[in-house]
């Protein structure tokens, strides 16, 4: 018996959900598999969404018509804007979410979306056929489809490690997928082995919160989704605490029992998310390490101990946690563990997330060696959209470093070989002053609309905002008389200008913002805050933004110089040996991408440029 679909999505984590929703919403018959339906959109690690660079990604997913922001907004426990005061380029929204609500809300969305089937089953094999793909499940029911999105997360051949106790298991005791990797290797894909970890969950009533610093959300940060106006209510607090000297002693005297040090773990872990034992060992001069207790949900006593992931044996874990200020009598509910899993080198993918070797096969999320819910969701959305484009034989969606963090993410992972799980950071985005969380809608809604994922309601909100911004801009060039300016500047402590200055120049002053202009001059009446935010940022950072935009144009020129897919770089004379090999391996889509491959020098790029020019002349 065979069941036929347009698109099969393997895995219902953050990547899989976005991929399946995109495909189904674009009108294609889609089935999404989870090894266990309780794992749908499960937040296996920290109960939070967003953060630096990740918050930007959530807003971008939203602008394109993805689900993550909307789903997160329904499960917020508290919300804040990180990096306030450090400049709009790095403002990053971050929410603590109720992970149970997050899961059940997403599951309900999948269940009620037309064209979408949610099915519990372990996929054990994938085969390419002439017309598409056949997958088989562990109960020997076959499904076929024209395109497949693999979003298996950390479930492939995963093992969890607590001291010497190793289990062939996925996160949180969910079962791992043991057969699919072999099937993918048979298709010519090369597996890597990565590692990550998660801290213990502890019982709130056993924690002495009075020894910790309470951290609440802000009452000024609005929802993730541009569709949801207003400020989410604060429902739960987080708590800040520290390790003690005792913690350090316990960890150091038990290092030999840590699997990372005893050689038990071979997978490569992320540098940016080290286990507590790694932190203590590597930064031994540091007396204490900061930890956050984060609520897992509204209807549970469980708290997540952020910053204290470990794979030490369970009894030592307990001793260690009890040495932390406020956790002296802690009752551990779930042990911390490290997890090892198979993933695949994403440089074997195009910048559409389609395999270079196997047409119609897309990979998204942690299977590509990334980490993070947001990074996964972003890839899932792009992979889902492009699976549809593939079936419809239409131009794929290619986001670029110039238009989005998602573009930066995909370009990075498909261009540079990762040696550790890839996490998005604002410093990876060279145009971050333009790629802000506040303007993701302005950057991407039109793209989402063209794809077909942006509803009329969302699109109208966007058009309205664009129109309002244009209107609000009109008064920027109005020149104010010295007398008008004097009164306002004096009251905010700005030095007086020698002659009349424009509204825009007023805004460039440190102590002048839109609110000041509203109060003193009655300007900008009737405009919403998000419109005025655009006016203010664009005026204050005008010089920098203009410069980045010029750089973006330069970069686009390089991106627009397309390199043929079938070009044999051995035939291009003048290229260095290393460059030839790398270029033949990567087959970059453009000169811009070629230049970002490590081992390809500016001189090599120049040679390619000459080659392109000659080729064009000959053609």
């Amino acid at each position: 018996m065979k069941k036929e679909f347009d698109v099969i999505v393997v895995g219902a984590g953050h990547a899989g959900c976005e991929a399946a929703l995109a495909s189904a919403r674009l009108g294609h018959n889609t089935i999404i598999f989870a090894t266990n339906l309780d794992t749908v959109a499960f937040c296996a690690c920290n109960p939070s969404i967003g953060g630096t660079a990740k918050g930007q990604i959530v807003r971008e997913i939203d602008a394109l018509g993805g689900e993550m922001a909307i789903n997160a907004d329904k499960s917020i426990l508290q919300m804040r804007m990180l990096n306030r005061g450090k400049g709009p380029a790095v403002y990053s929204p971050r929410a603590q979410v109720d992970k149970f609500v997050y899961h059940s809300t997403m599951k309900a969305t999948l269940e009620t979306t037309p064209n979408l089937v949610l099915r519990q089953a372990e996929v054990v094999s994938l085969e390419k056929t002439e017309t598409g793909f056949v997958v088989n499940t562990s109960v020997d029911v076959k499904y076929c489809a024209k395109a497949v999105v693999l979003a298996c997360g950390v479930y492939l051949n995963s093992r969890t490690i607590v001291g010497k106790c190793i289990e062939e298991s996925g996160p949180n005791g969910f079962k791992s997928a043991k057969k699919l990797t072999d099937s993918l290797v048979a298709l010519g894909m090369e597996p890597l082995r990565f590692k990550t970890g998660t801290p213990a969950r502890v019982l709130a009533s056993s924690v002495d919160f009075s020894k910790m610093e309470k951290q609440d959300g802000e009452s000024s940060t609005c929802h993730f989704s541009y569709m949801n106006k207003g400020i989410p209510a604060q429902k739960r607090s987080c708590y800040l605490t520290y390790t003690t000297l005792e913690t350090k002693q316990i960890v150091l005297s038990n290092l030999d029992k840590a699997p990372m040090y005893s050689g038990e773990i071979v997978g490569v872990g992320p540098r940016y998310c080290p286990s507590l034992e790694t932190k203590i060992e590597r930064f031994s001069d540091k007396e204490r390490h900061q930890l956050f207790l984060e609520p897992e949900g509204e209807c549970t006593q469980e708290f997540y101990v952020q910053g204290a992931s470990t794979s030490l044996p369970a009894d030592i874990q307990e001793e260690m946690y009890k040495s932390i200020a406020g956790l002296e009598n802690v009752q551990i509910m779930r042990d911390a563990y490290a997890i090892e899993y198979d993933c695949f080198d994403a440089t074997s993918l195009k910048n559409t997330l389609e395999s270079k070797k196997i047409d119609g096969l897309f990979l998204a999320g942690q299977i590509n060696g990334t980490s993070g819910y947001e990074e996964a969701a972003a890839q899932g959305l792009v992979a889902g959209i492009n699976a549809v484009k593939f079936i419809e034989n239409k131009q794929p969606l290619i986001l670029t470093r110039q238009d989005s963090y998602i573009g930066v993410l995909i370009d990075d992972i498909t261009t540079k070989q990762s040696t550790e799980p890839y996490r998005m950071m604002t410093s990876r985005a060279e145009h971050r002053l333009v790629l802000r969380q506040d303007n993701a809608d302005l950057r991407l809604t039109q793209i989402g609309r063209d794809i077909g994922l942006v509803s009329d309601e969302r699109y109208n909100l966007y058009l309205e905002k664009v129109e309002q911004i244009e209107k609000a801009k009109q008064c920027l060039n109005e020149v104010l008389s010295p007398k008008t300016v004097a009164e306002m500047f004096t009251s905010v402590g700005e030095t007086l200008p020698k002659s009349g200055i424009s509204v825009k120049d007023c805004l460039k002053r440190t102590n002048v913002n839109v609110k000041v202009l509203q109060q003193h001059l009655g300007l900008f009446e009737g405009f919403s805050d998000d419109v005025l935010e655009q006016i203010e940022i664009n005026a204050k950072y005008e010089g920098y933004i203009a410069k980045q935009q010029a750089l973006i144009l330069d970069a686009e020129k390089m991106e627009n110089k397309k390199l043929p897919n079938d070009l044999d770089y051995e035939t291009v004379s003048g290229l260095r040996l290393e460059a030839r090999q790398k270029l033949n391996y990567f087959k970059p889509s453009s000169l811009g991408q070629a230049g970002r491959i490590s081992g390809v020098s500016p001189a090599d790029v120049q040679i390619l440029m000459v080659w392109l020019a000659q080729h064009r002349n000959n053609g």
Binding site: T52, N83, K86, G87, A89, V90, Q290, S427, M609
Partner: protein, 428 residues
């Protein structure tokens, strides 16, 4: 494909060197030269068959990557006549080589990682050098001294970038956060180093182009005689008629390792003569642009003036024994008295310091431009101008970093590389 070119100057000479570089250059050479050297780096006498005639020449080959370009290379040292050279090159072309383009040998060296950008520029500077001071400066570039310095500065900036960025990407970690004040202080330190490098620009210009010396003064004080005495031959017309020199007159002299560029000018006086008046205007302009003005007087020197040396001429007629000033030199152009002392004084004024003798100075306008751009960006950070938020300081520090990277070509755009290679002459 192998490239070939004449590496020595075109024209008659005792020996001419024809160079070939490329994967198959050794194979091509074996077809025309026998007996071919048995091993690389060995200069061997033999016969070069051009087809028309057999040239008795020497041949040496280098194996990749141990050669200037990093590719296989062959050199033929033949007799230096144009007909011979043309035939030699022709037979190499017939056997599969092609003519090299401007700067192509150096370009290949750069591409093959044998040299960085500033090193290749060092090659041009050395070849173009007219004085030993300029050679030294070029040699320094070639030795990658500037490259090392800019890499070191880039490295420091990278540290600073990392420190700023980590605070932006990890706002909630209890890192010892770099304060704005610390960032400014560290930026200032790097800025100081850049300014130190930039302060060598003047010395670099002098090493490369020489010292521009204007000879000025009233009419008939002996300016043109002084020029002739300095040069050691009669360059300017000398007569007792006031206002003989009308137009400015250039002449060059190499003193020790440095070039002196003298400009004799029209004597300054009130005149109704249109031509003389134009000459006087030119004299004033020359004085303004010069590195040094030799102001010739017969009698009392004027008050001290910037970049001015008073030449108290005609000491055979006038008694200067009571003048004892640092900015005065007593001469008699007619009797050749005090002339060597004057040259030495000029030399010491410009070329005596350590930087000059070490050759570690900036001689290249592109490098100066890179450093100036980096300086400008860092100054913004130090002054905390325009935008006060950290994301903007980070941006400026990054820009400074990439400007410095352009010196060695690590972040050079293709336009820069293009311009550099277009400056190269054939066959270097």
């Amino acid at each position: 494909m192998s490239i070939v070119a004449l590496s020595t100057p075109a024209g008659r000479s005792a020996v001419a060197v024809v160079r070939m570089s490329g994967e198959n250059s050794i194979e091509i050479a074996k077809k025309v030269f026998s007996p071919f050297p048995k091993s690389p780096n060995l200069l061997k006498v033999g016969n070069l068959d051009t087809g028309d005639f057999v040239e008795r020449a020497m041949c040496v080959y280098f194996e990749a990557p141990k050669s200037f370009t990093g590719e296989n290379m062959v050199e033929f040292h033949c007799h230096g006549g144009m007909a011979i050279v043309t035939s030699v090159i022709q037979v190499l072309l017939d056997n599969g080589a092609r003519m090299a383009q401007n700067g192509e040998f150096s370009k290949r060296a750069f591409i093959n990682g044998k040299m960085n950008l500033s090193e290749t520029e060092g090659v041009i500077e050395m070849i173009d050098a007219e004085t030993t001071a300029a050679v030294k400066a070029g040699e320094n570039l070639l030795a990658n001294n500037l490259g090392k310095k800019s890499v070191a500065l880039q490295d420091k900036l990278l540290d600073l970038i990392a420190k700023t960025e980590v605070a932006l990407d990890y706002p909630e970690e209890d890192l010892e956060e770099q304060t704005l004040l610390e960032t400014q202080k560290e930026t200032q330190e790097i800025l100081d180093e850049i300014e130190k490098l930039l302060s060598t620009v003047k010395a670099g210009k002098i090493a490369k182009y020489g010292i521009d010396v204007a000879i000025a003064g009233e009419t008939n004080v002996g300016k043109s005689s002084l020029l002739n005495a300095l040069l050691g031959y009669d360059r300017a017309i000398v007569s007792s008629t006031a206002g003989t020199t009308r137009d400015t007159l250039d002449a060059h002299l190499t003193y020790k390792d440095t070039k002196f560029n003298f400009v004799d000018t029209a004597g300054i006086r009130q005149t109704d003569n249109e031509i003389e008046r134009l000459g006087i205007d030119r004299a004033k302009k020359t004085m303004k642009e010069a590195d040094l003005v030799l102001f010739v007087v017969n009698g009392k020197p004027l008050a001290q003036q910037e970049k001015t040396l008073y030449v108290l001429n005609k000491c055979d007629e006038i008694d200067y024994s009571n003048v004892n000033r640092e900015d005065c030199v007593v001469t008699s152009a007619k009797d050749n008295k005090g002339i060597e002392e004057l040259k030495e004084k000029i030399y010491k004024m410009f070329c005596a310091d350590e930087i000059y003798s070490s050759g570690q100075m900036l001689t290249n306008a592109r490098h100066v431009d890179c450093l100036n751009r980096a300086k400008e960006k860092l100054q913004i950070v130090v002054d905390n101008l325009f935008c006060t938020t950290v994301d903007c300081s980070a941006l400026n520090i990054r820009d400074a970093w990439s400007a410095l990277g352009e010196i060695t070509g690590t972040t050079a755009t293709e336009e820069i590389i293009d311009r550099i290679y277009s400056k190269f002459c054939l066959g270097k």
